[in-house]
């Protein structure tokens, strides 16, 4: 009996010695898995899971210290290894989630900025369109008003003088007999009343239109004299119109003498027609872009 005991003891001691010096492969793997997890991002991203892996590893180490390389030690080591791996996998997932969230927020931010830019541009465009619309309406109203006044002026003038629409504009023709005594350039009293009416009507024309007073004579007498006379008469009419409300910068005067007859100078009637003052209302030059 004693002999057997003696023989068994060294074997047991040997077994125990082996167990304490050589850890099972499972424990070796668990240690390296835990080291990897605790030194990697898992340690900061999933600290609770790393801690759990540490506890599991401690249990396995304790089992190894107490009992050696037993199936239980191997099981505990296996579980510890898996828990360390789990911490790393969970950390990887968490990081992916965080990255996705950050990137989504970035996309959202960019989209908002883009939207704000588009909205701003659209608002500016709308404002421009509204402004243009207003300007167009004002311009249209202004033109309609000007046309109304012009046709009113034309109707008024038609009652007091001969009015014709020509390519050079509206031409108001006043007979020389009505305005001046023969060879004189001061206006007759009756002419003044008539010119007052003309001035009245002209104030209703488009203020942008220019007015030219043109003096004409018949062919009798010297051309130079006639030229001067027609020039002076046109000037007298112009001055009168200016003193009756026509802006001075709108209206000019010219003398043509006998150079532009409208009737035969051989008859008395023709000559009477040629002695005349024409007031030409030129339409405003077309605006750029219209």
């Amino acid at each position: 009996m004693k002999l057997i005991s003696l023989a068994v003891l060294p074997t047991l001691a040997l077994l125990a010695g082996c167990a304490t010096t050589t850890p099972p492969q499972e424990l070796v793997s668990a240690r390296s898995a835990y080291n990897r997890a605790s030194q990697g991002p898992a340690n900061s991203v999933k600290p609770a899971d790393v801690h759990e892996a540490q506890n599991a590893l401690n249990k396995a180490e304790q089992s190894f210290l107490d009992n050696g390389d037993t199936p239980t030690t191997k099981d505990l080591a296996y579980v510890a290894q898996r828990k360390a791996e789990l911490a790393e996998i969970l950390a990887q997932g968490e990081q992916a989630n965080q990255n996705a969230q950050l990137t989504s927020a970035e996309i959202e931010k960019r989209r908002d900025a883009e939207l704000a830019r588009t909205k701003g541009a659209l608002n500016a465009q709308n404002q421009t369109i509204q402004l243009q619309g207003k300007e167009l309406e004002q311009e249209k109203a202004r033109r309609e008003e000007a046309e109304k006044r012009a046709s009113q002026a034309a109707a008024d003038l038609a009652r007091i003088a001969s009015v014709k629409q020509e390519t050079r504009g509206m031409v108001i023709t006043l007979s020389g007999e009505v305005l001046f005594k023969s060879n004189e350039n001061s206006l007759l009293p009756g002419a003044q009343a008539k010119l007052s009416q003309v001035a009245d009507a002209l104030t209703k024309t488009d203020p942008d239109s220019k007015i030219v007073v043109q003096g004409h004579t018949d062919s009798q007498g010297q051309a130079a004299y006639n030229n001067t006379l027609s020039e002076k008469r046109a000037g007298a009419v112009r001055d009168y119109l200016v003193s009756h409300g026509i802006a001075a910068d709108r209206i000019t005067s010219q003398g043509f003498g006998p150079s532009q007859p409208i009737a035969d100078n051989n008859s008395a009637e023709g000559r009477a027609n040629n002695r005349r003052v024409e007031i030409v209302v030129q339409p405003p030059s077309r605006r750029a872009g219209n």
Partner: protein
Amino acid sequence: MNRLILAASAGALLATACASYPKPTDRLISSQASLRGAEEAGAPAHPQASLHMKLAQEEVNKAKALIDDGENERADYMLMRAKADADIALALARTNKSLAVQQQVQEKAANSP
């Protein structure tokens, strides 16, 4: 007589020691639940997760056999392995999805103005 009592009590002690380790029913249920969770999370579609599911399933089967043999304690530890593997499978499946979403969002960001 004394010897008989000693032997009997020693035998009884041994018997209670064996019988005292309860059947690991709770851990069996929890391991199987984790396995189902992993399956529902799409672990079978992911090679690494699928491997851990297989390991967990094998470990559950081993544990069941151990329970049948009355080795409740060994079965309990085997079920710890099963649970650990099933948890890994579930985590891999979820992380895989997170990585896919991350990639999708990053591609979207690369294409957004």
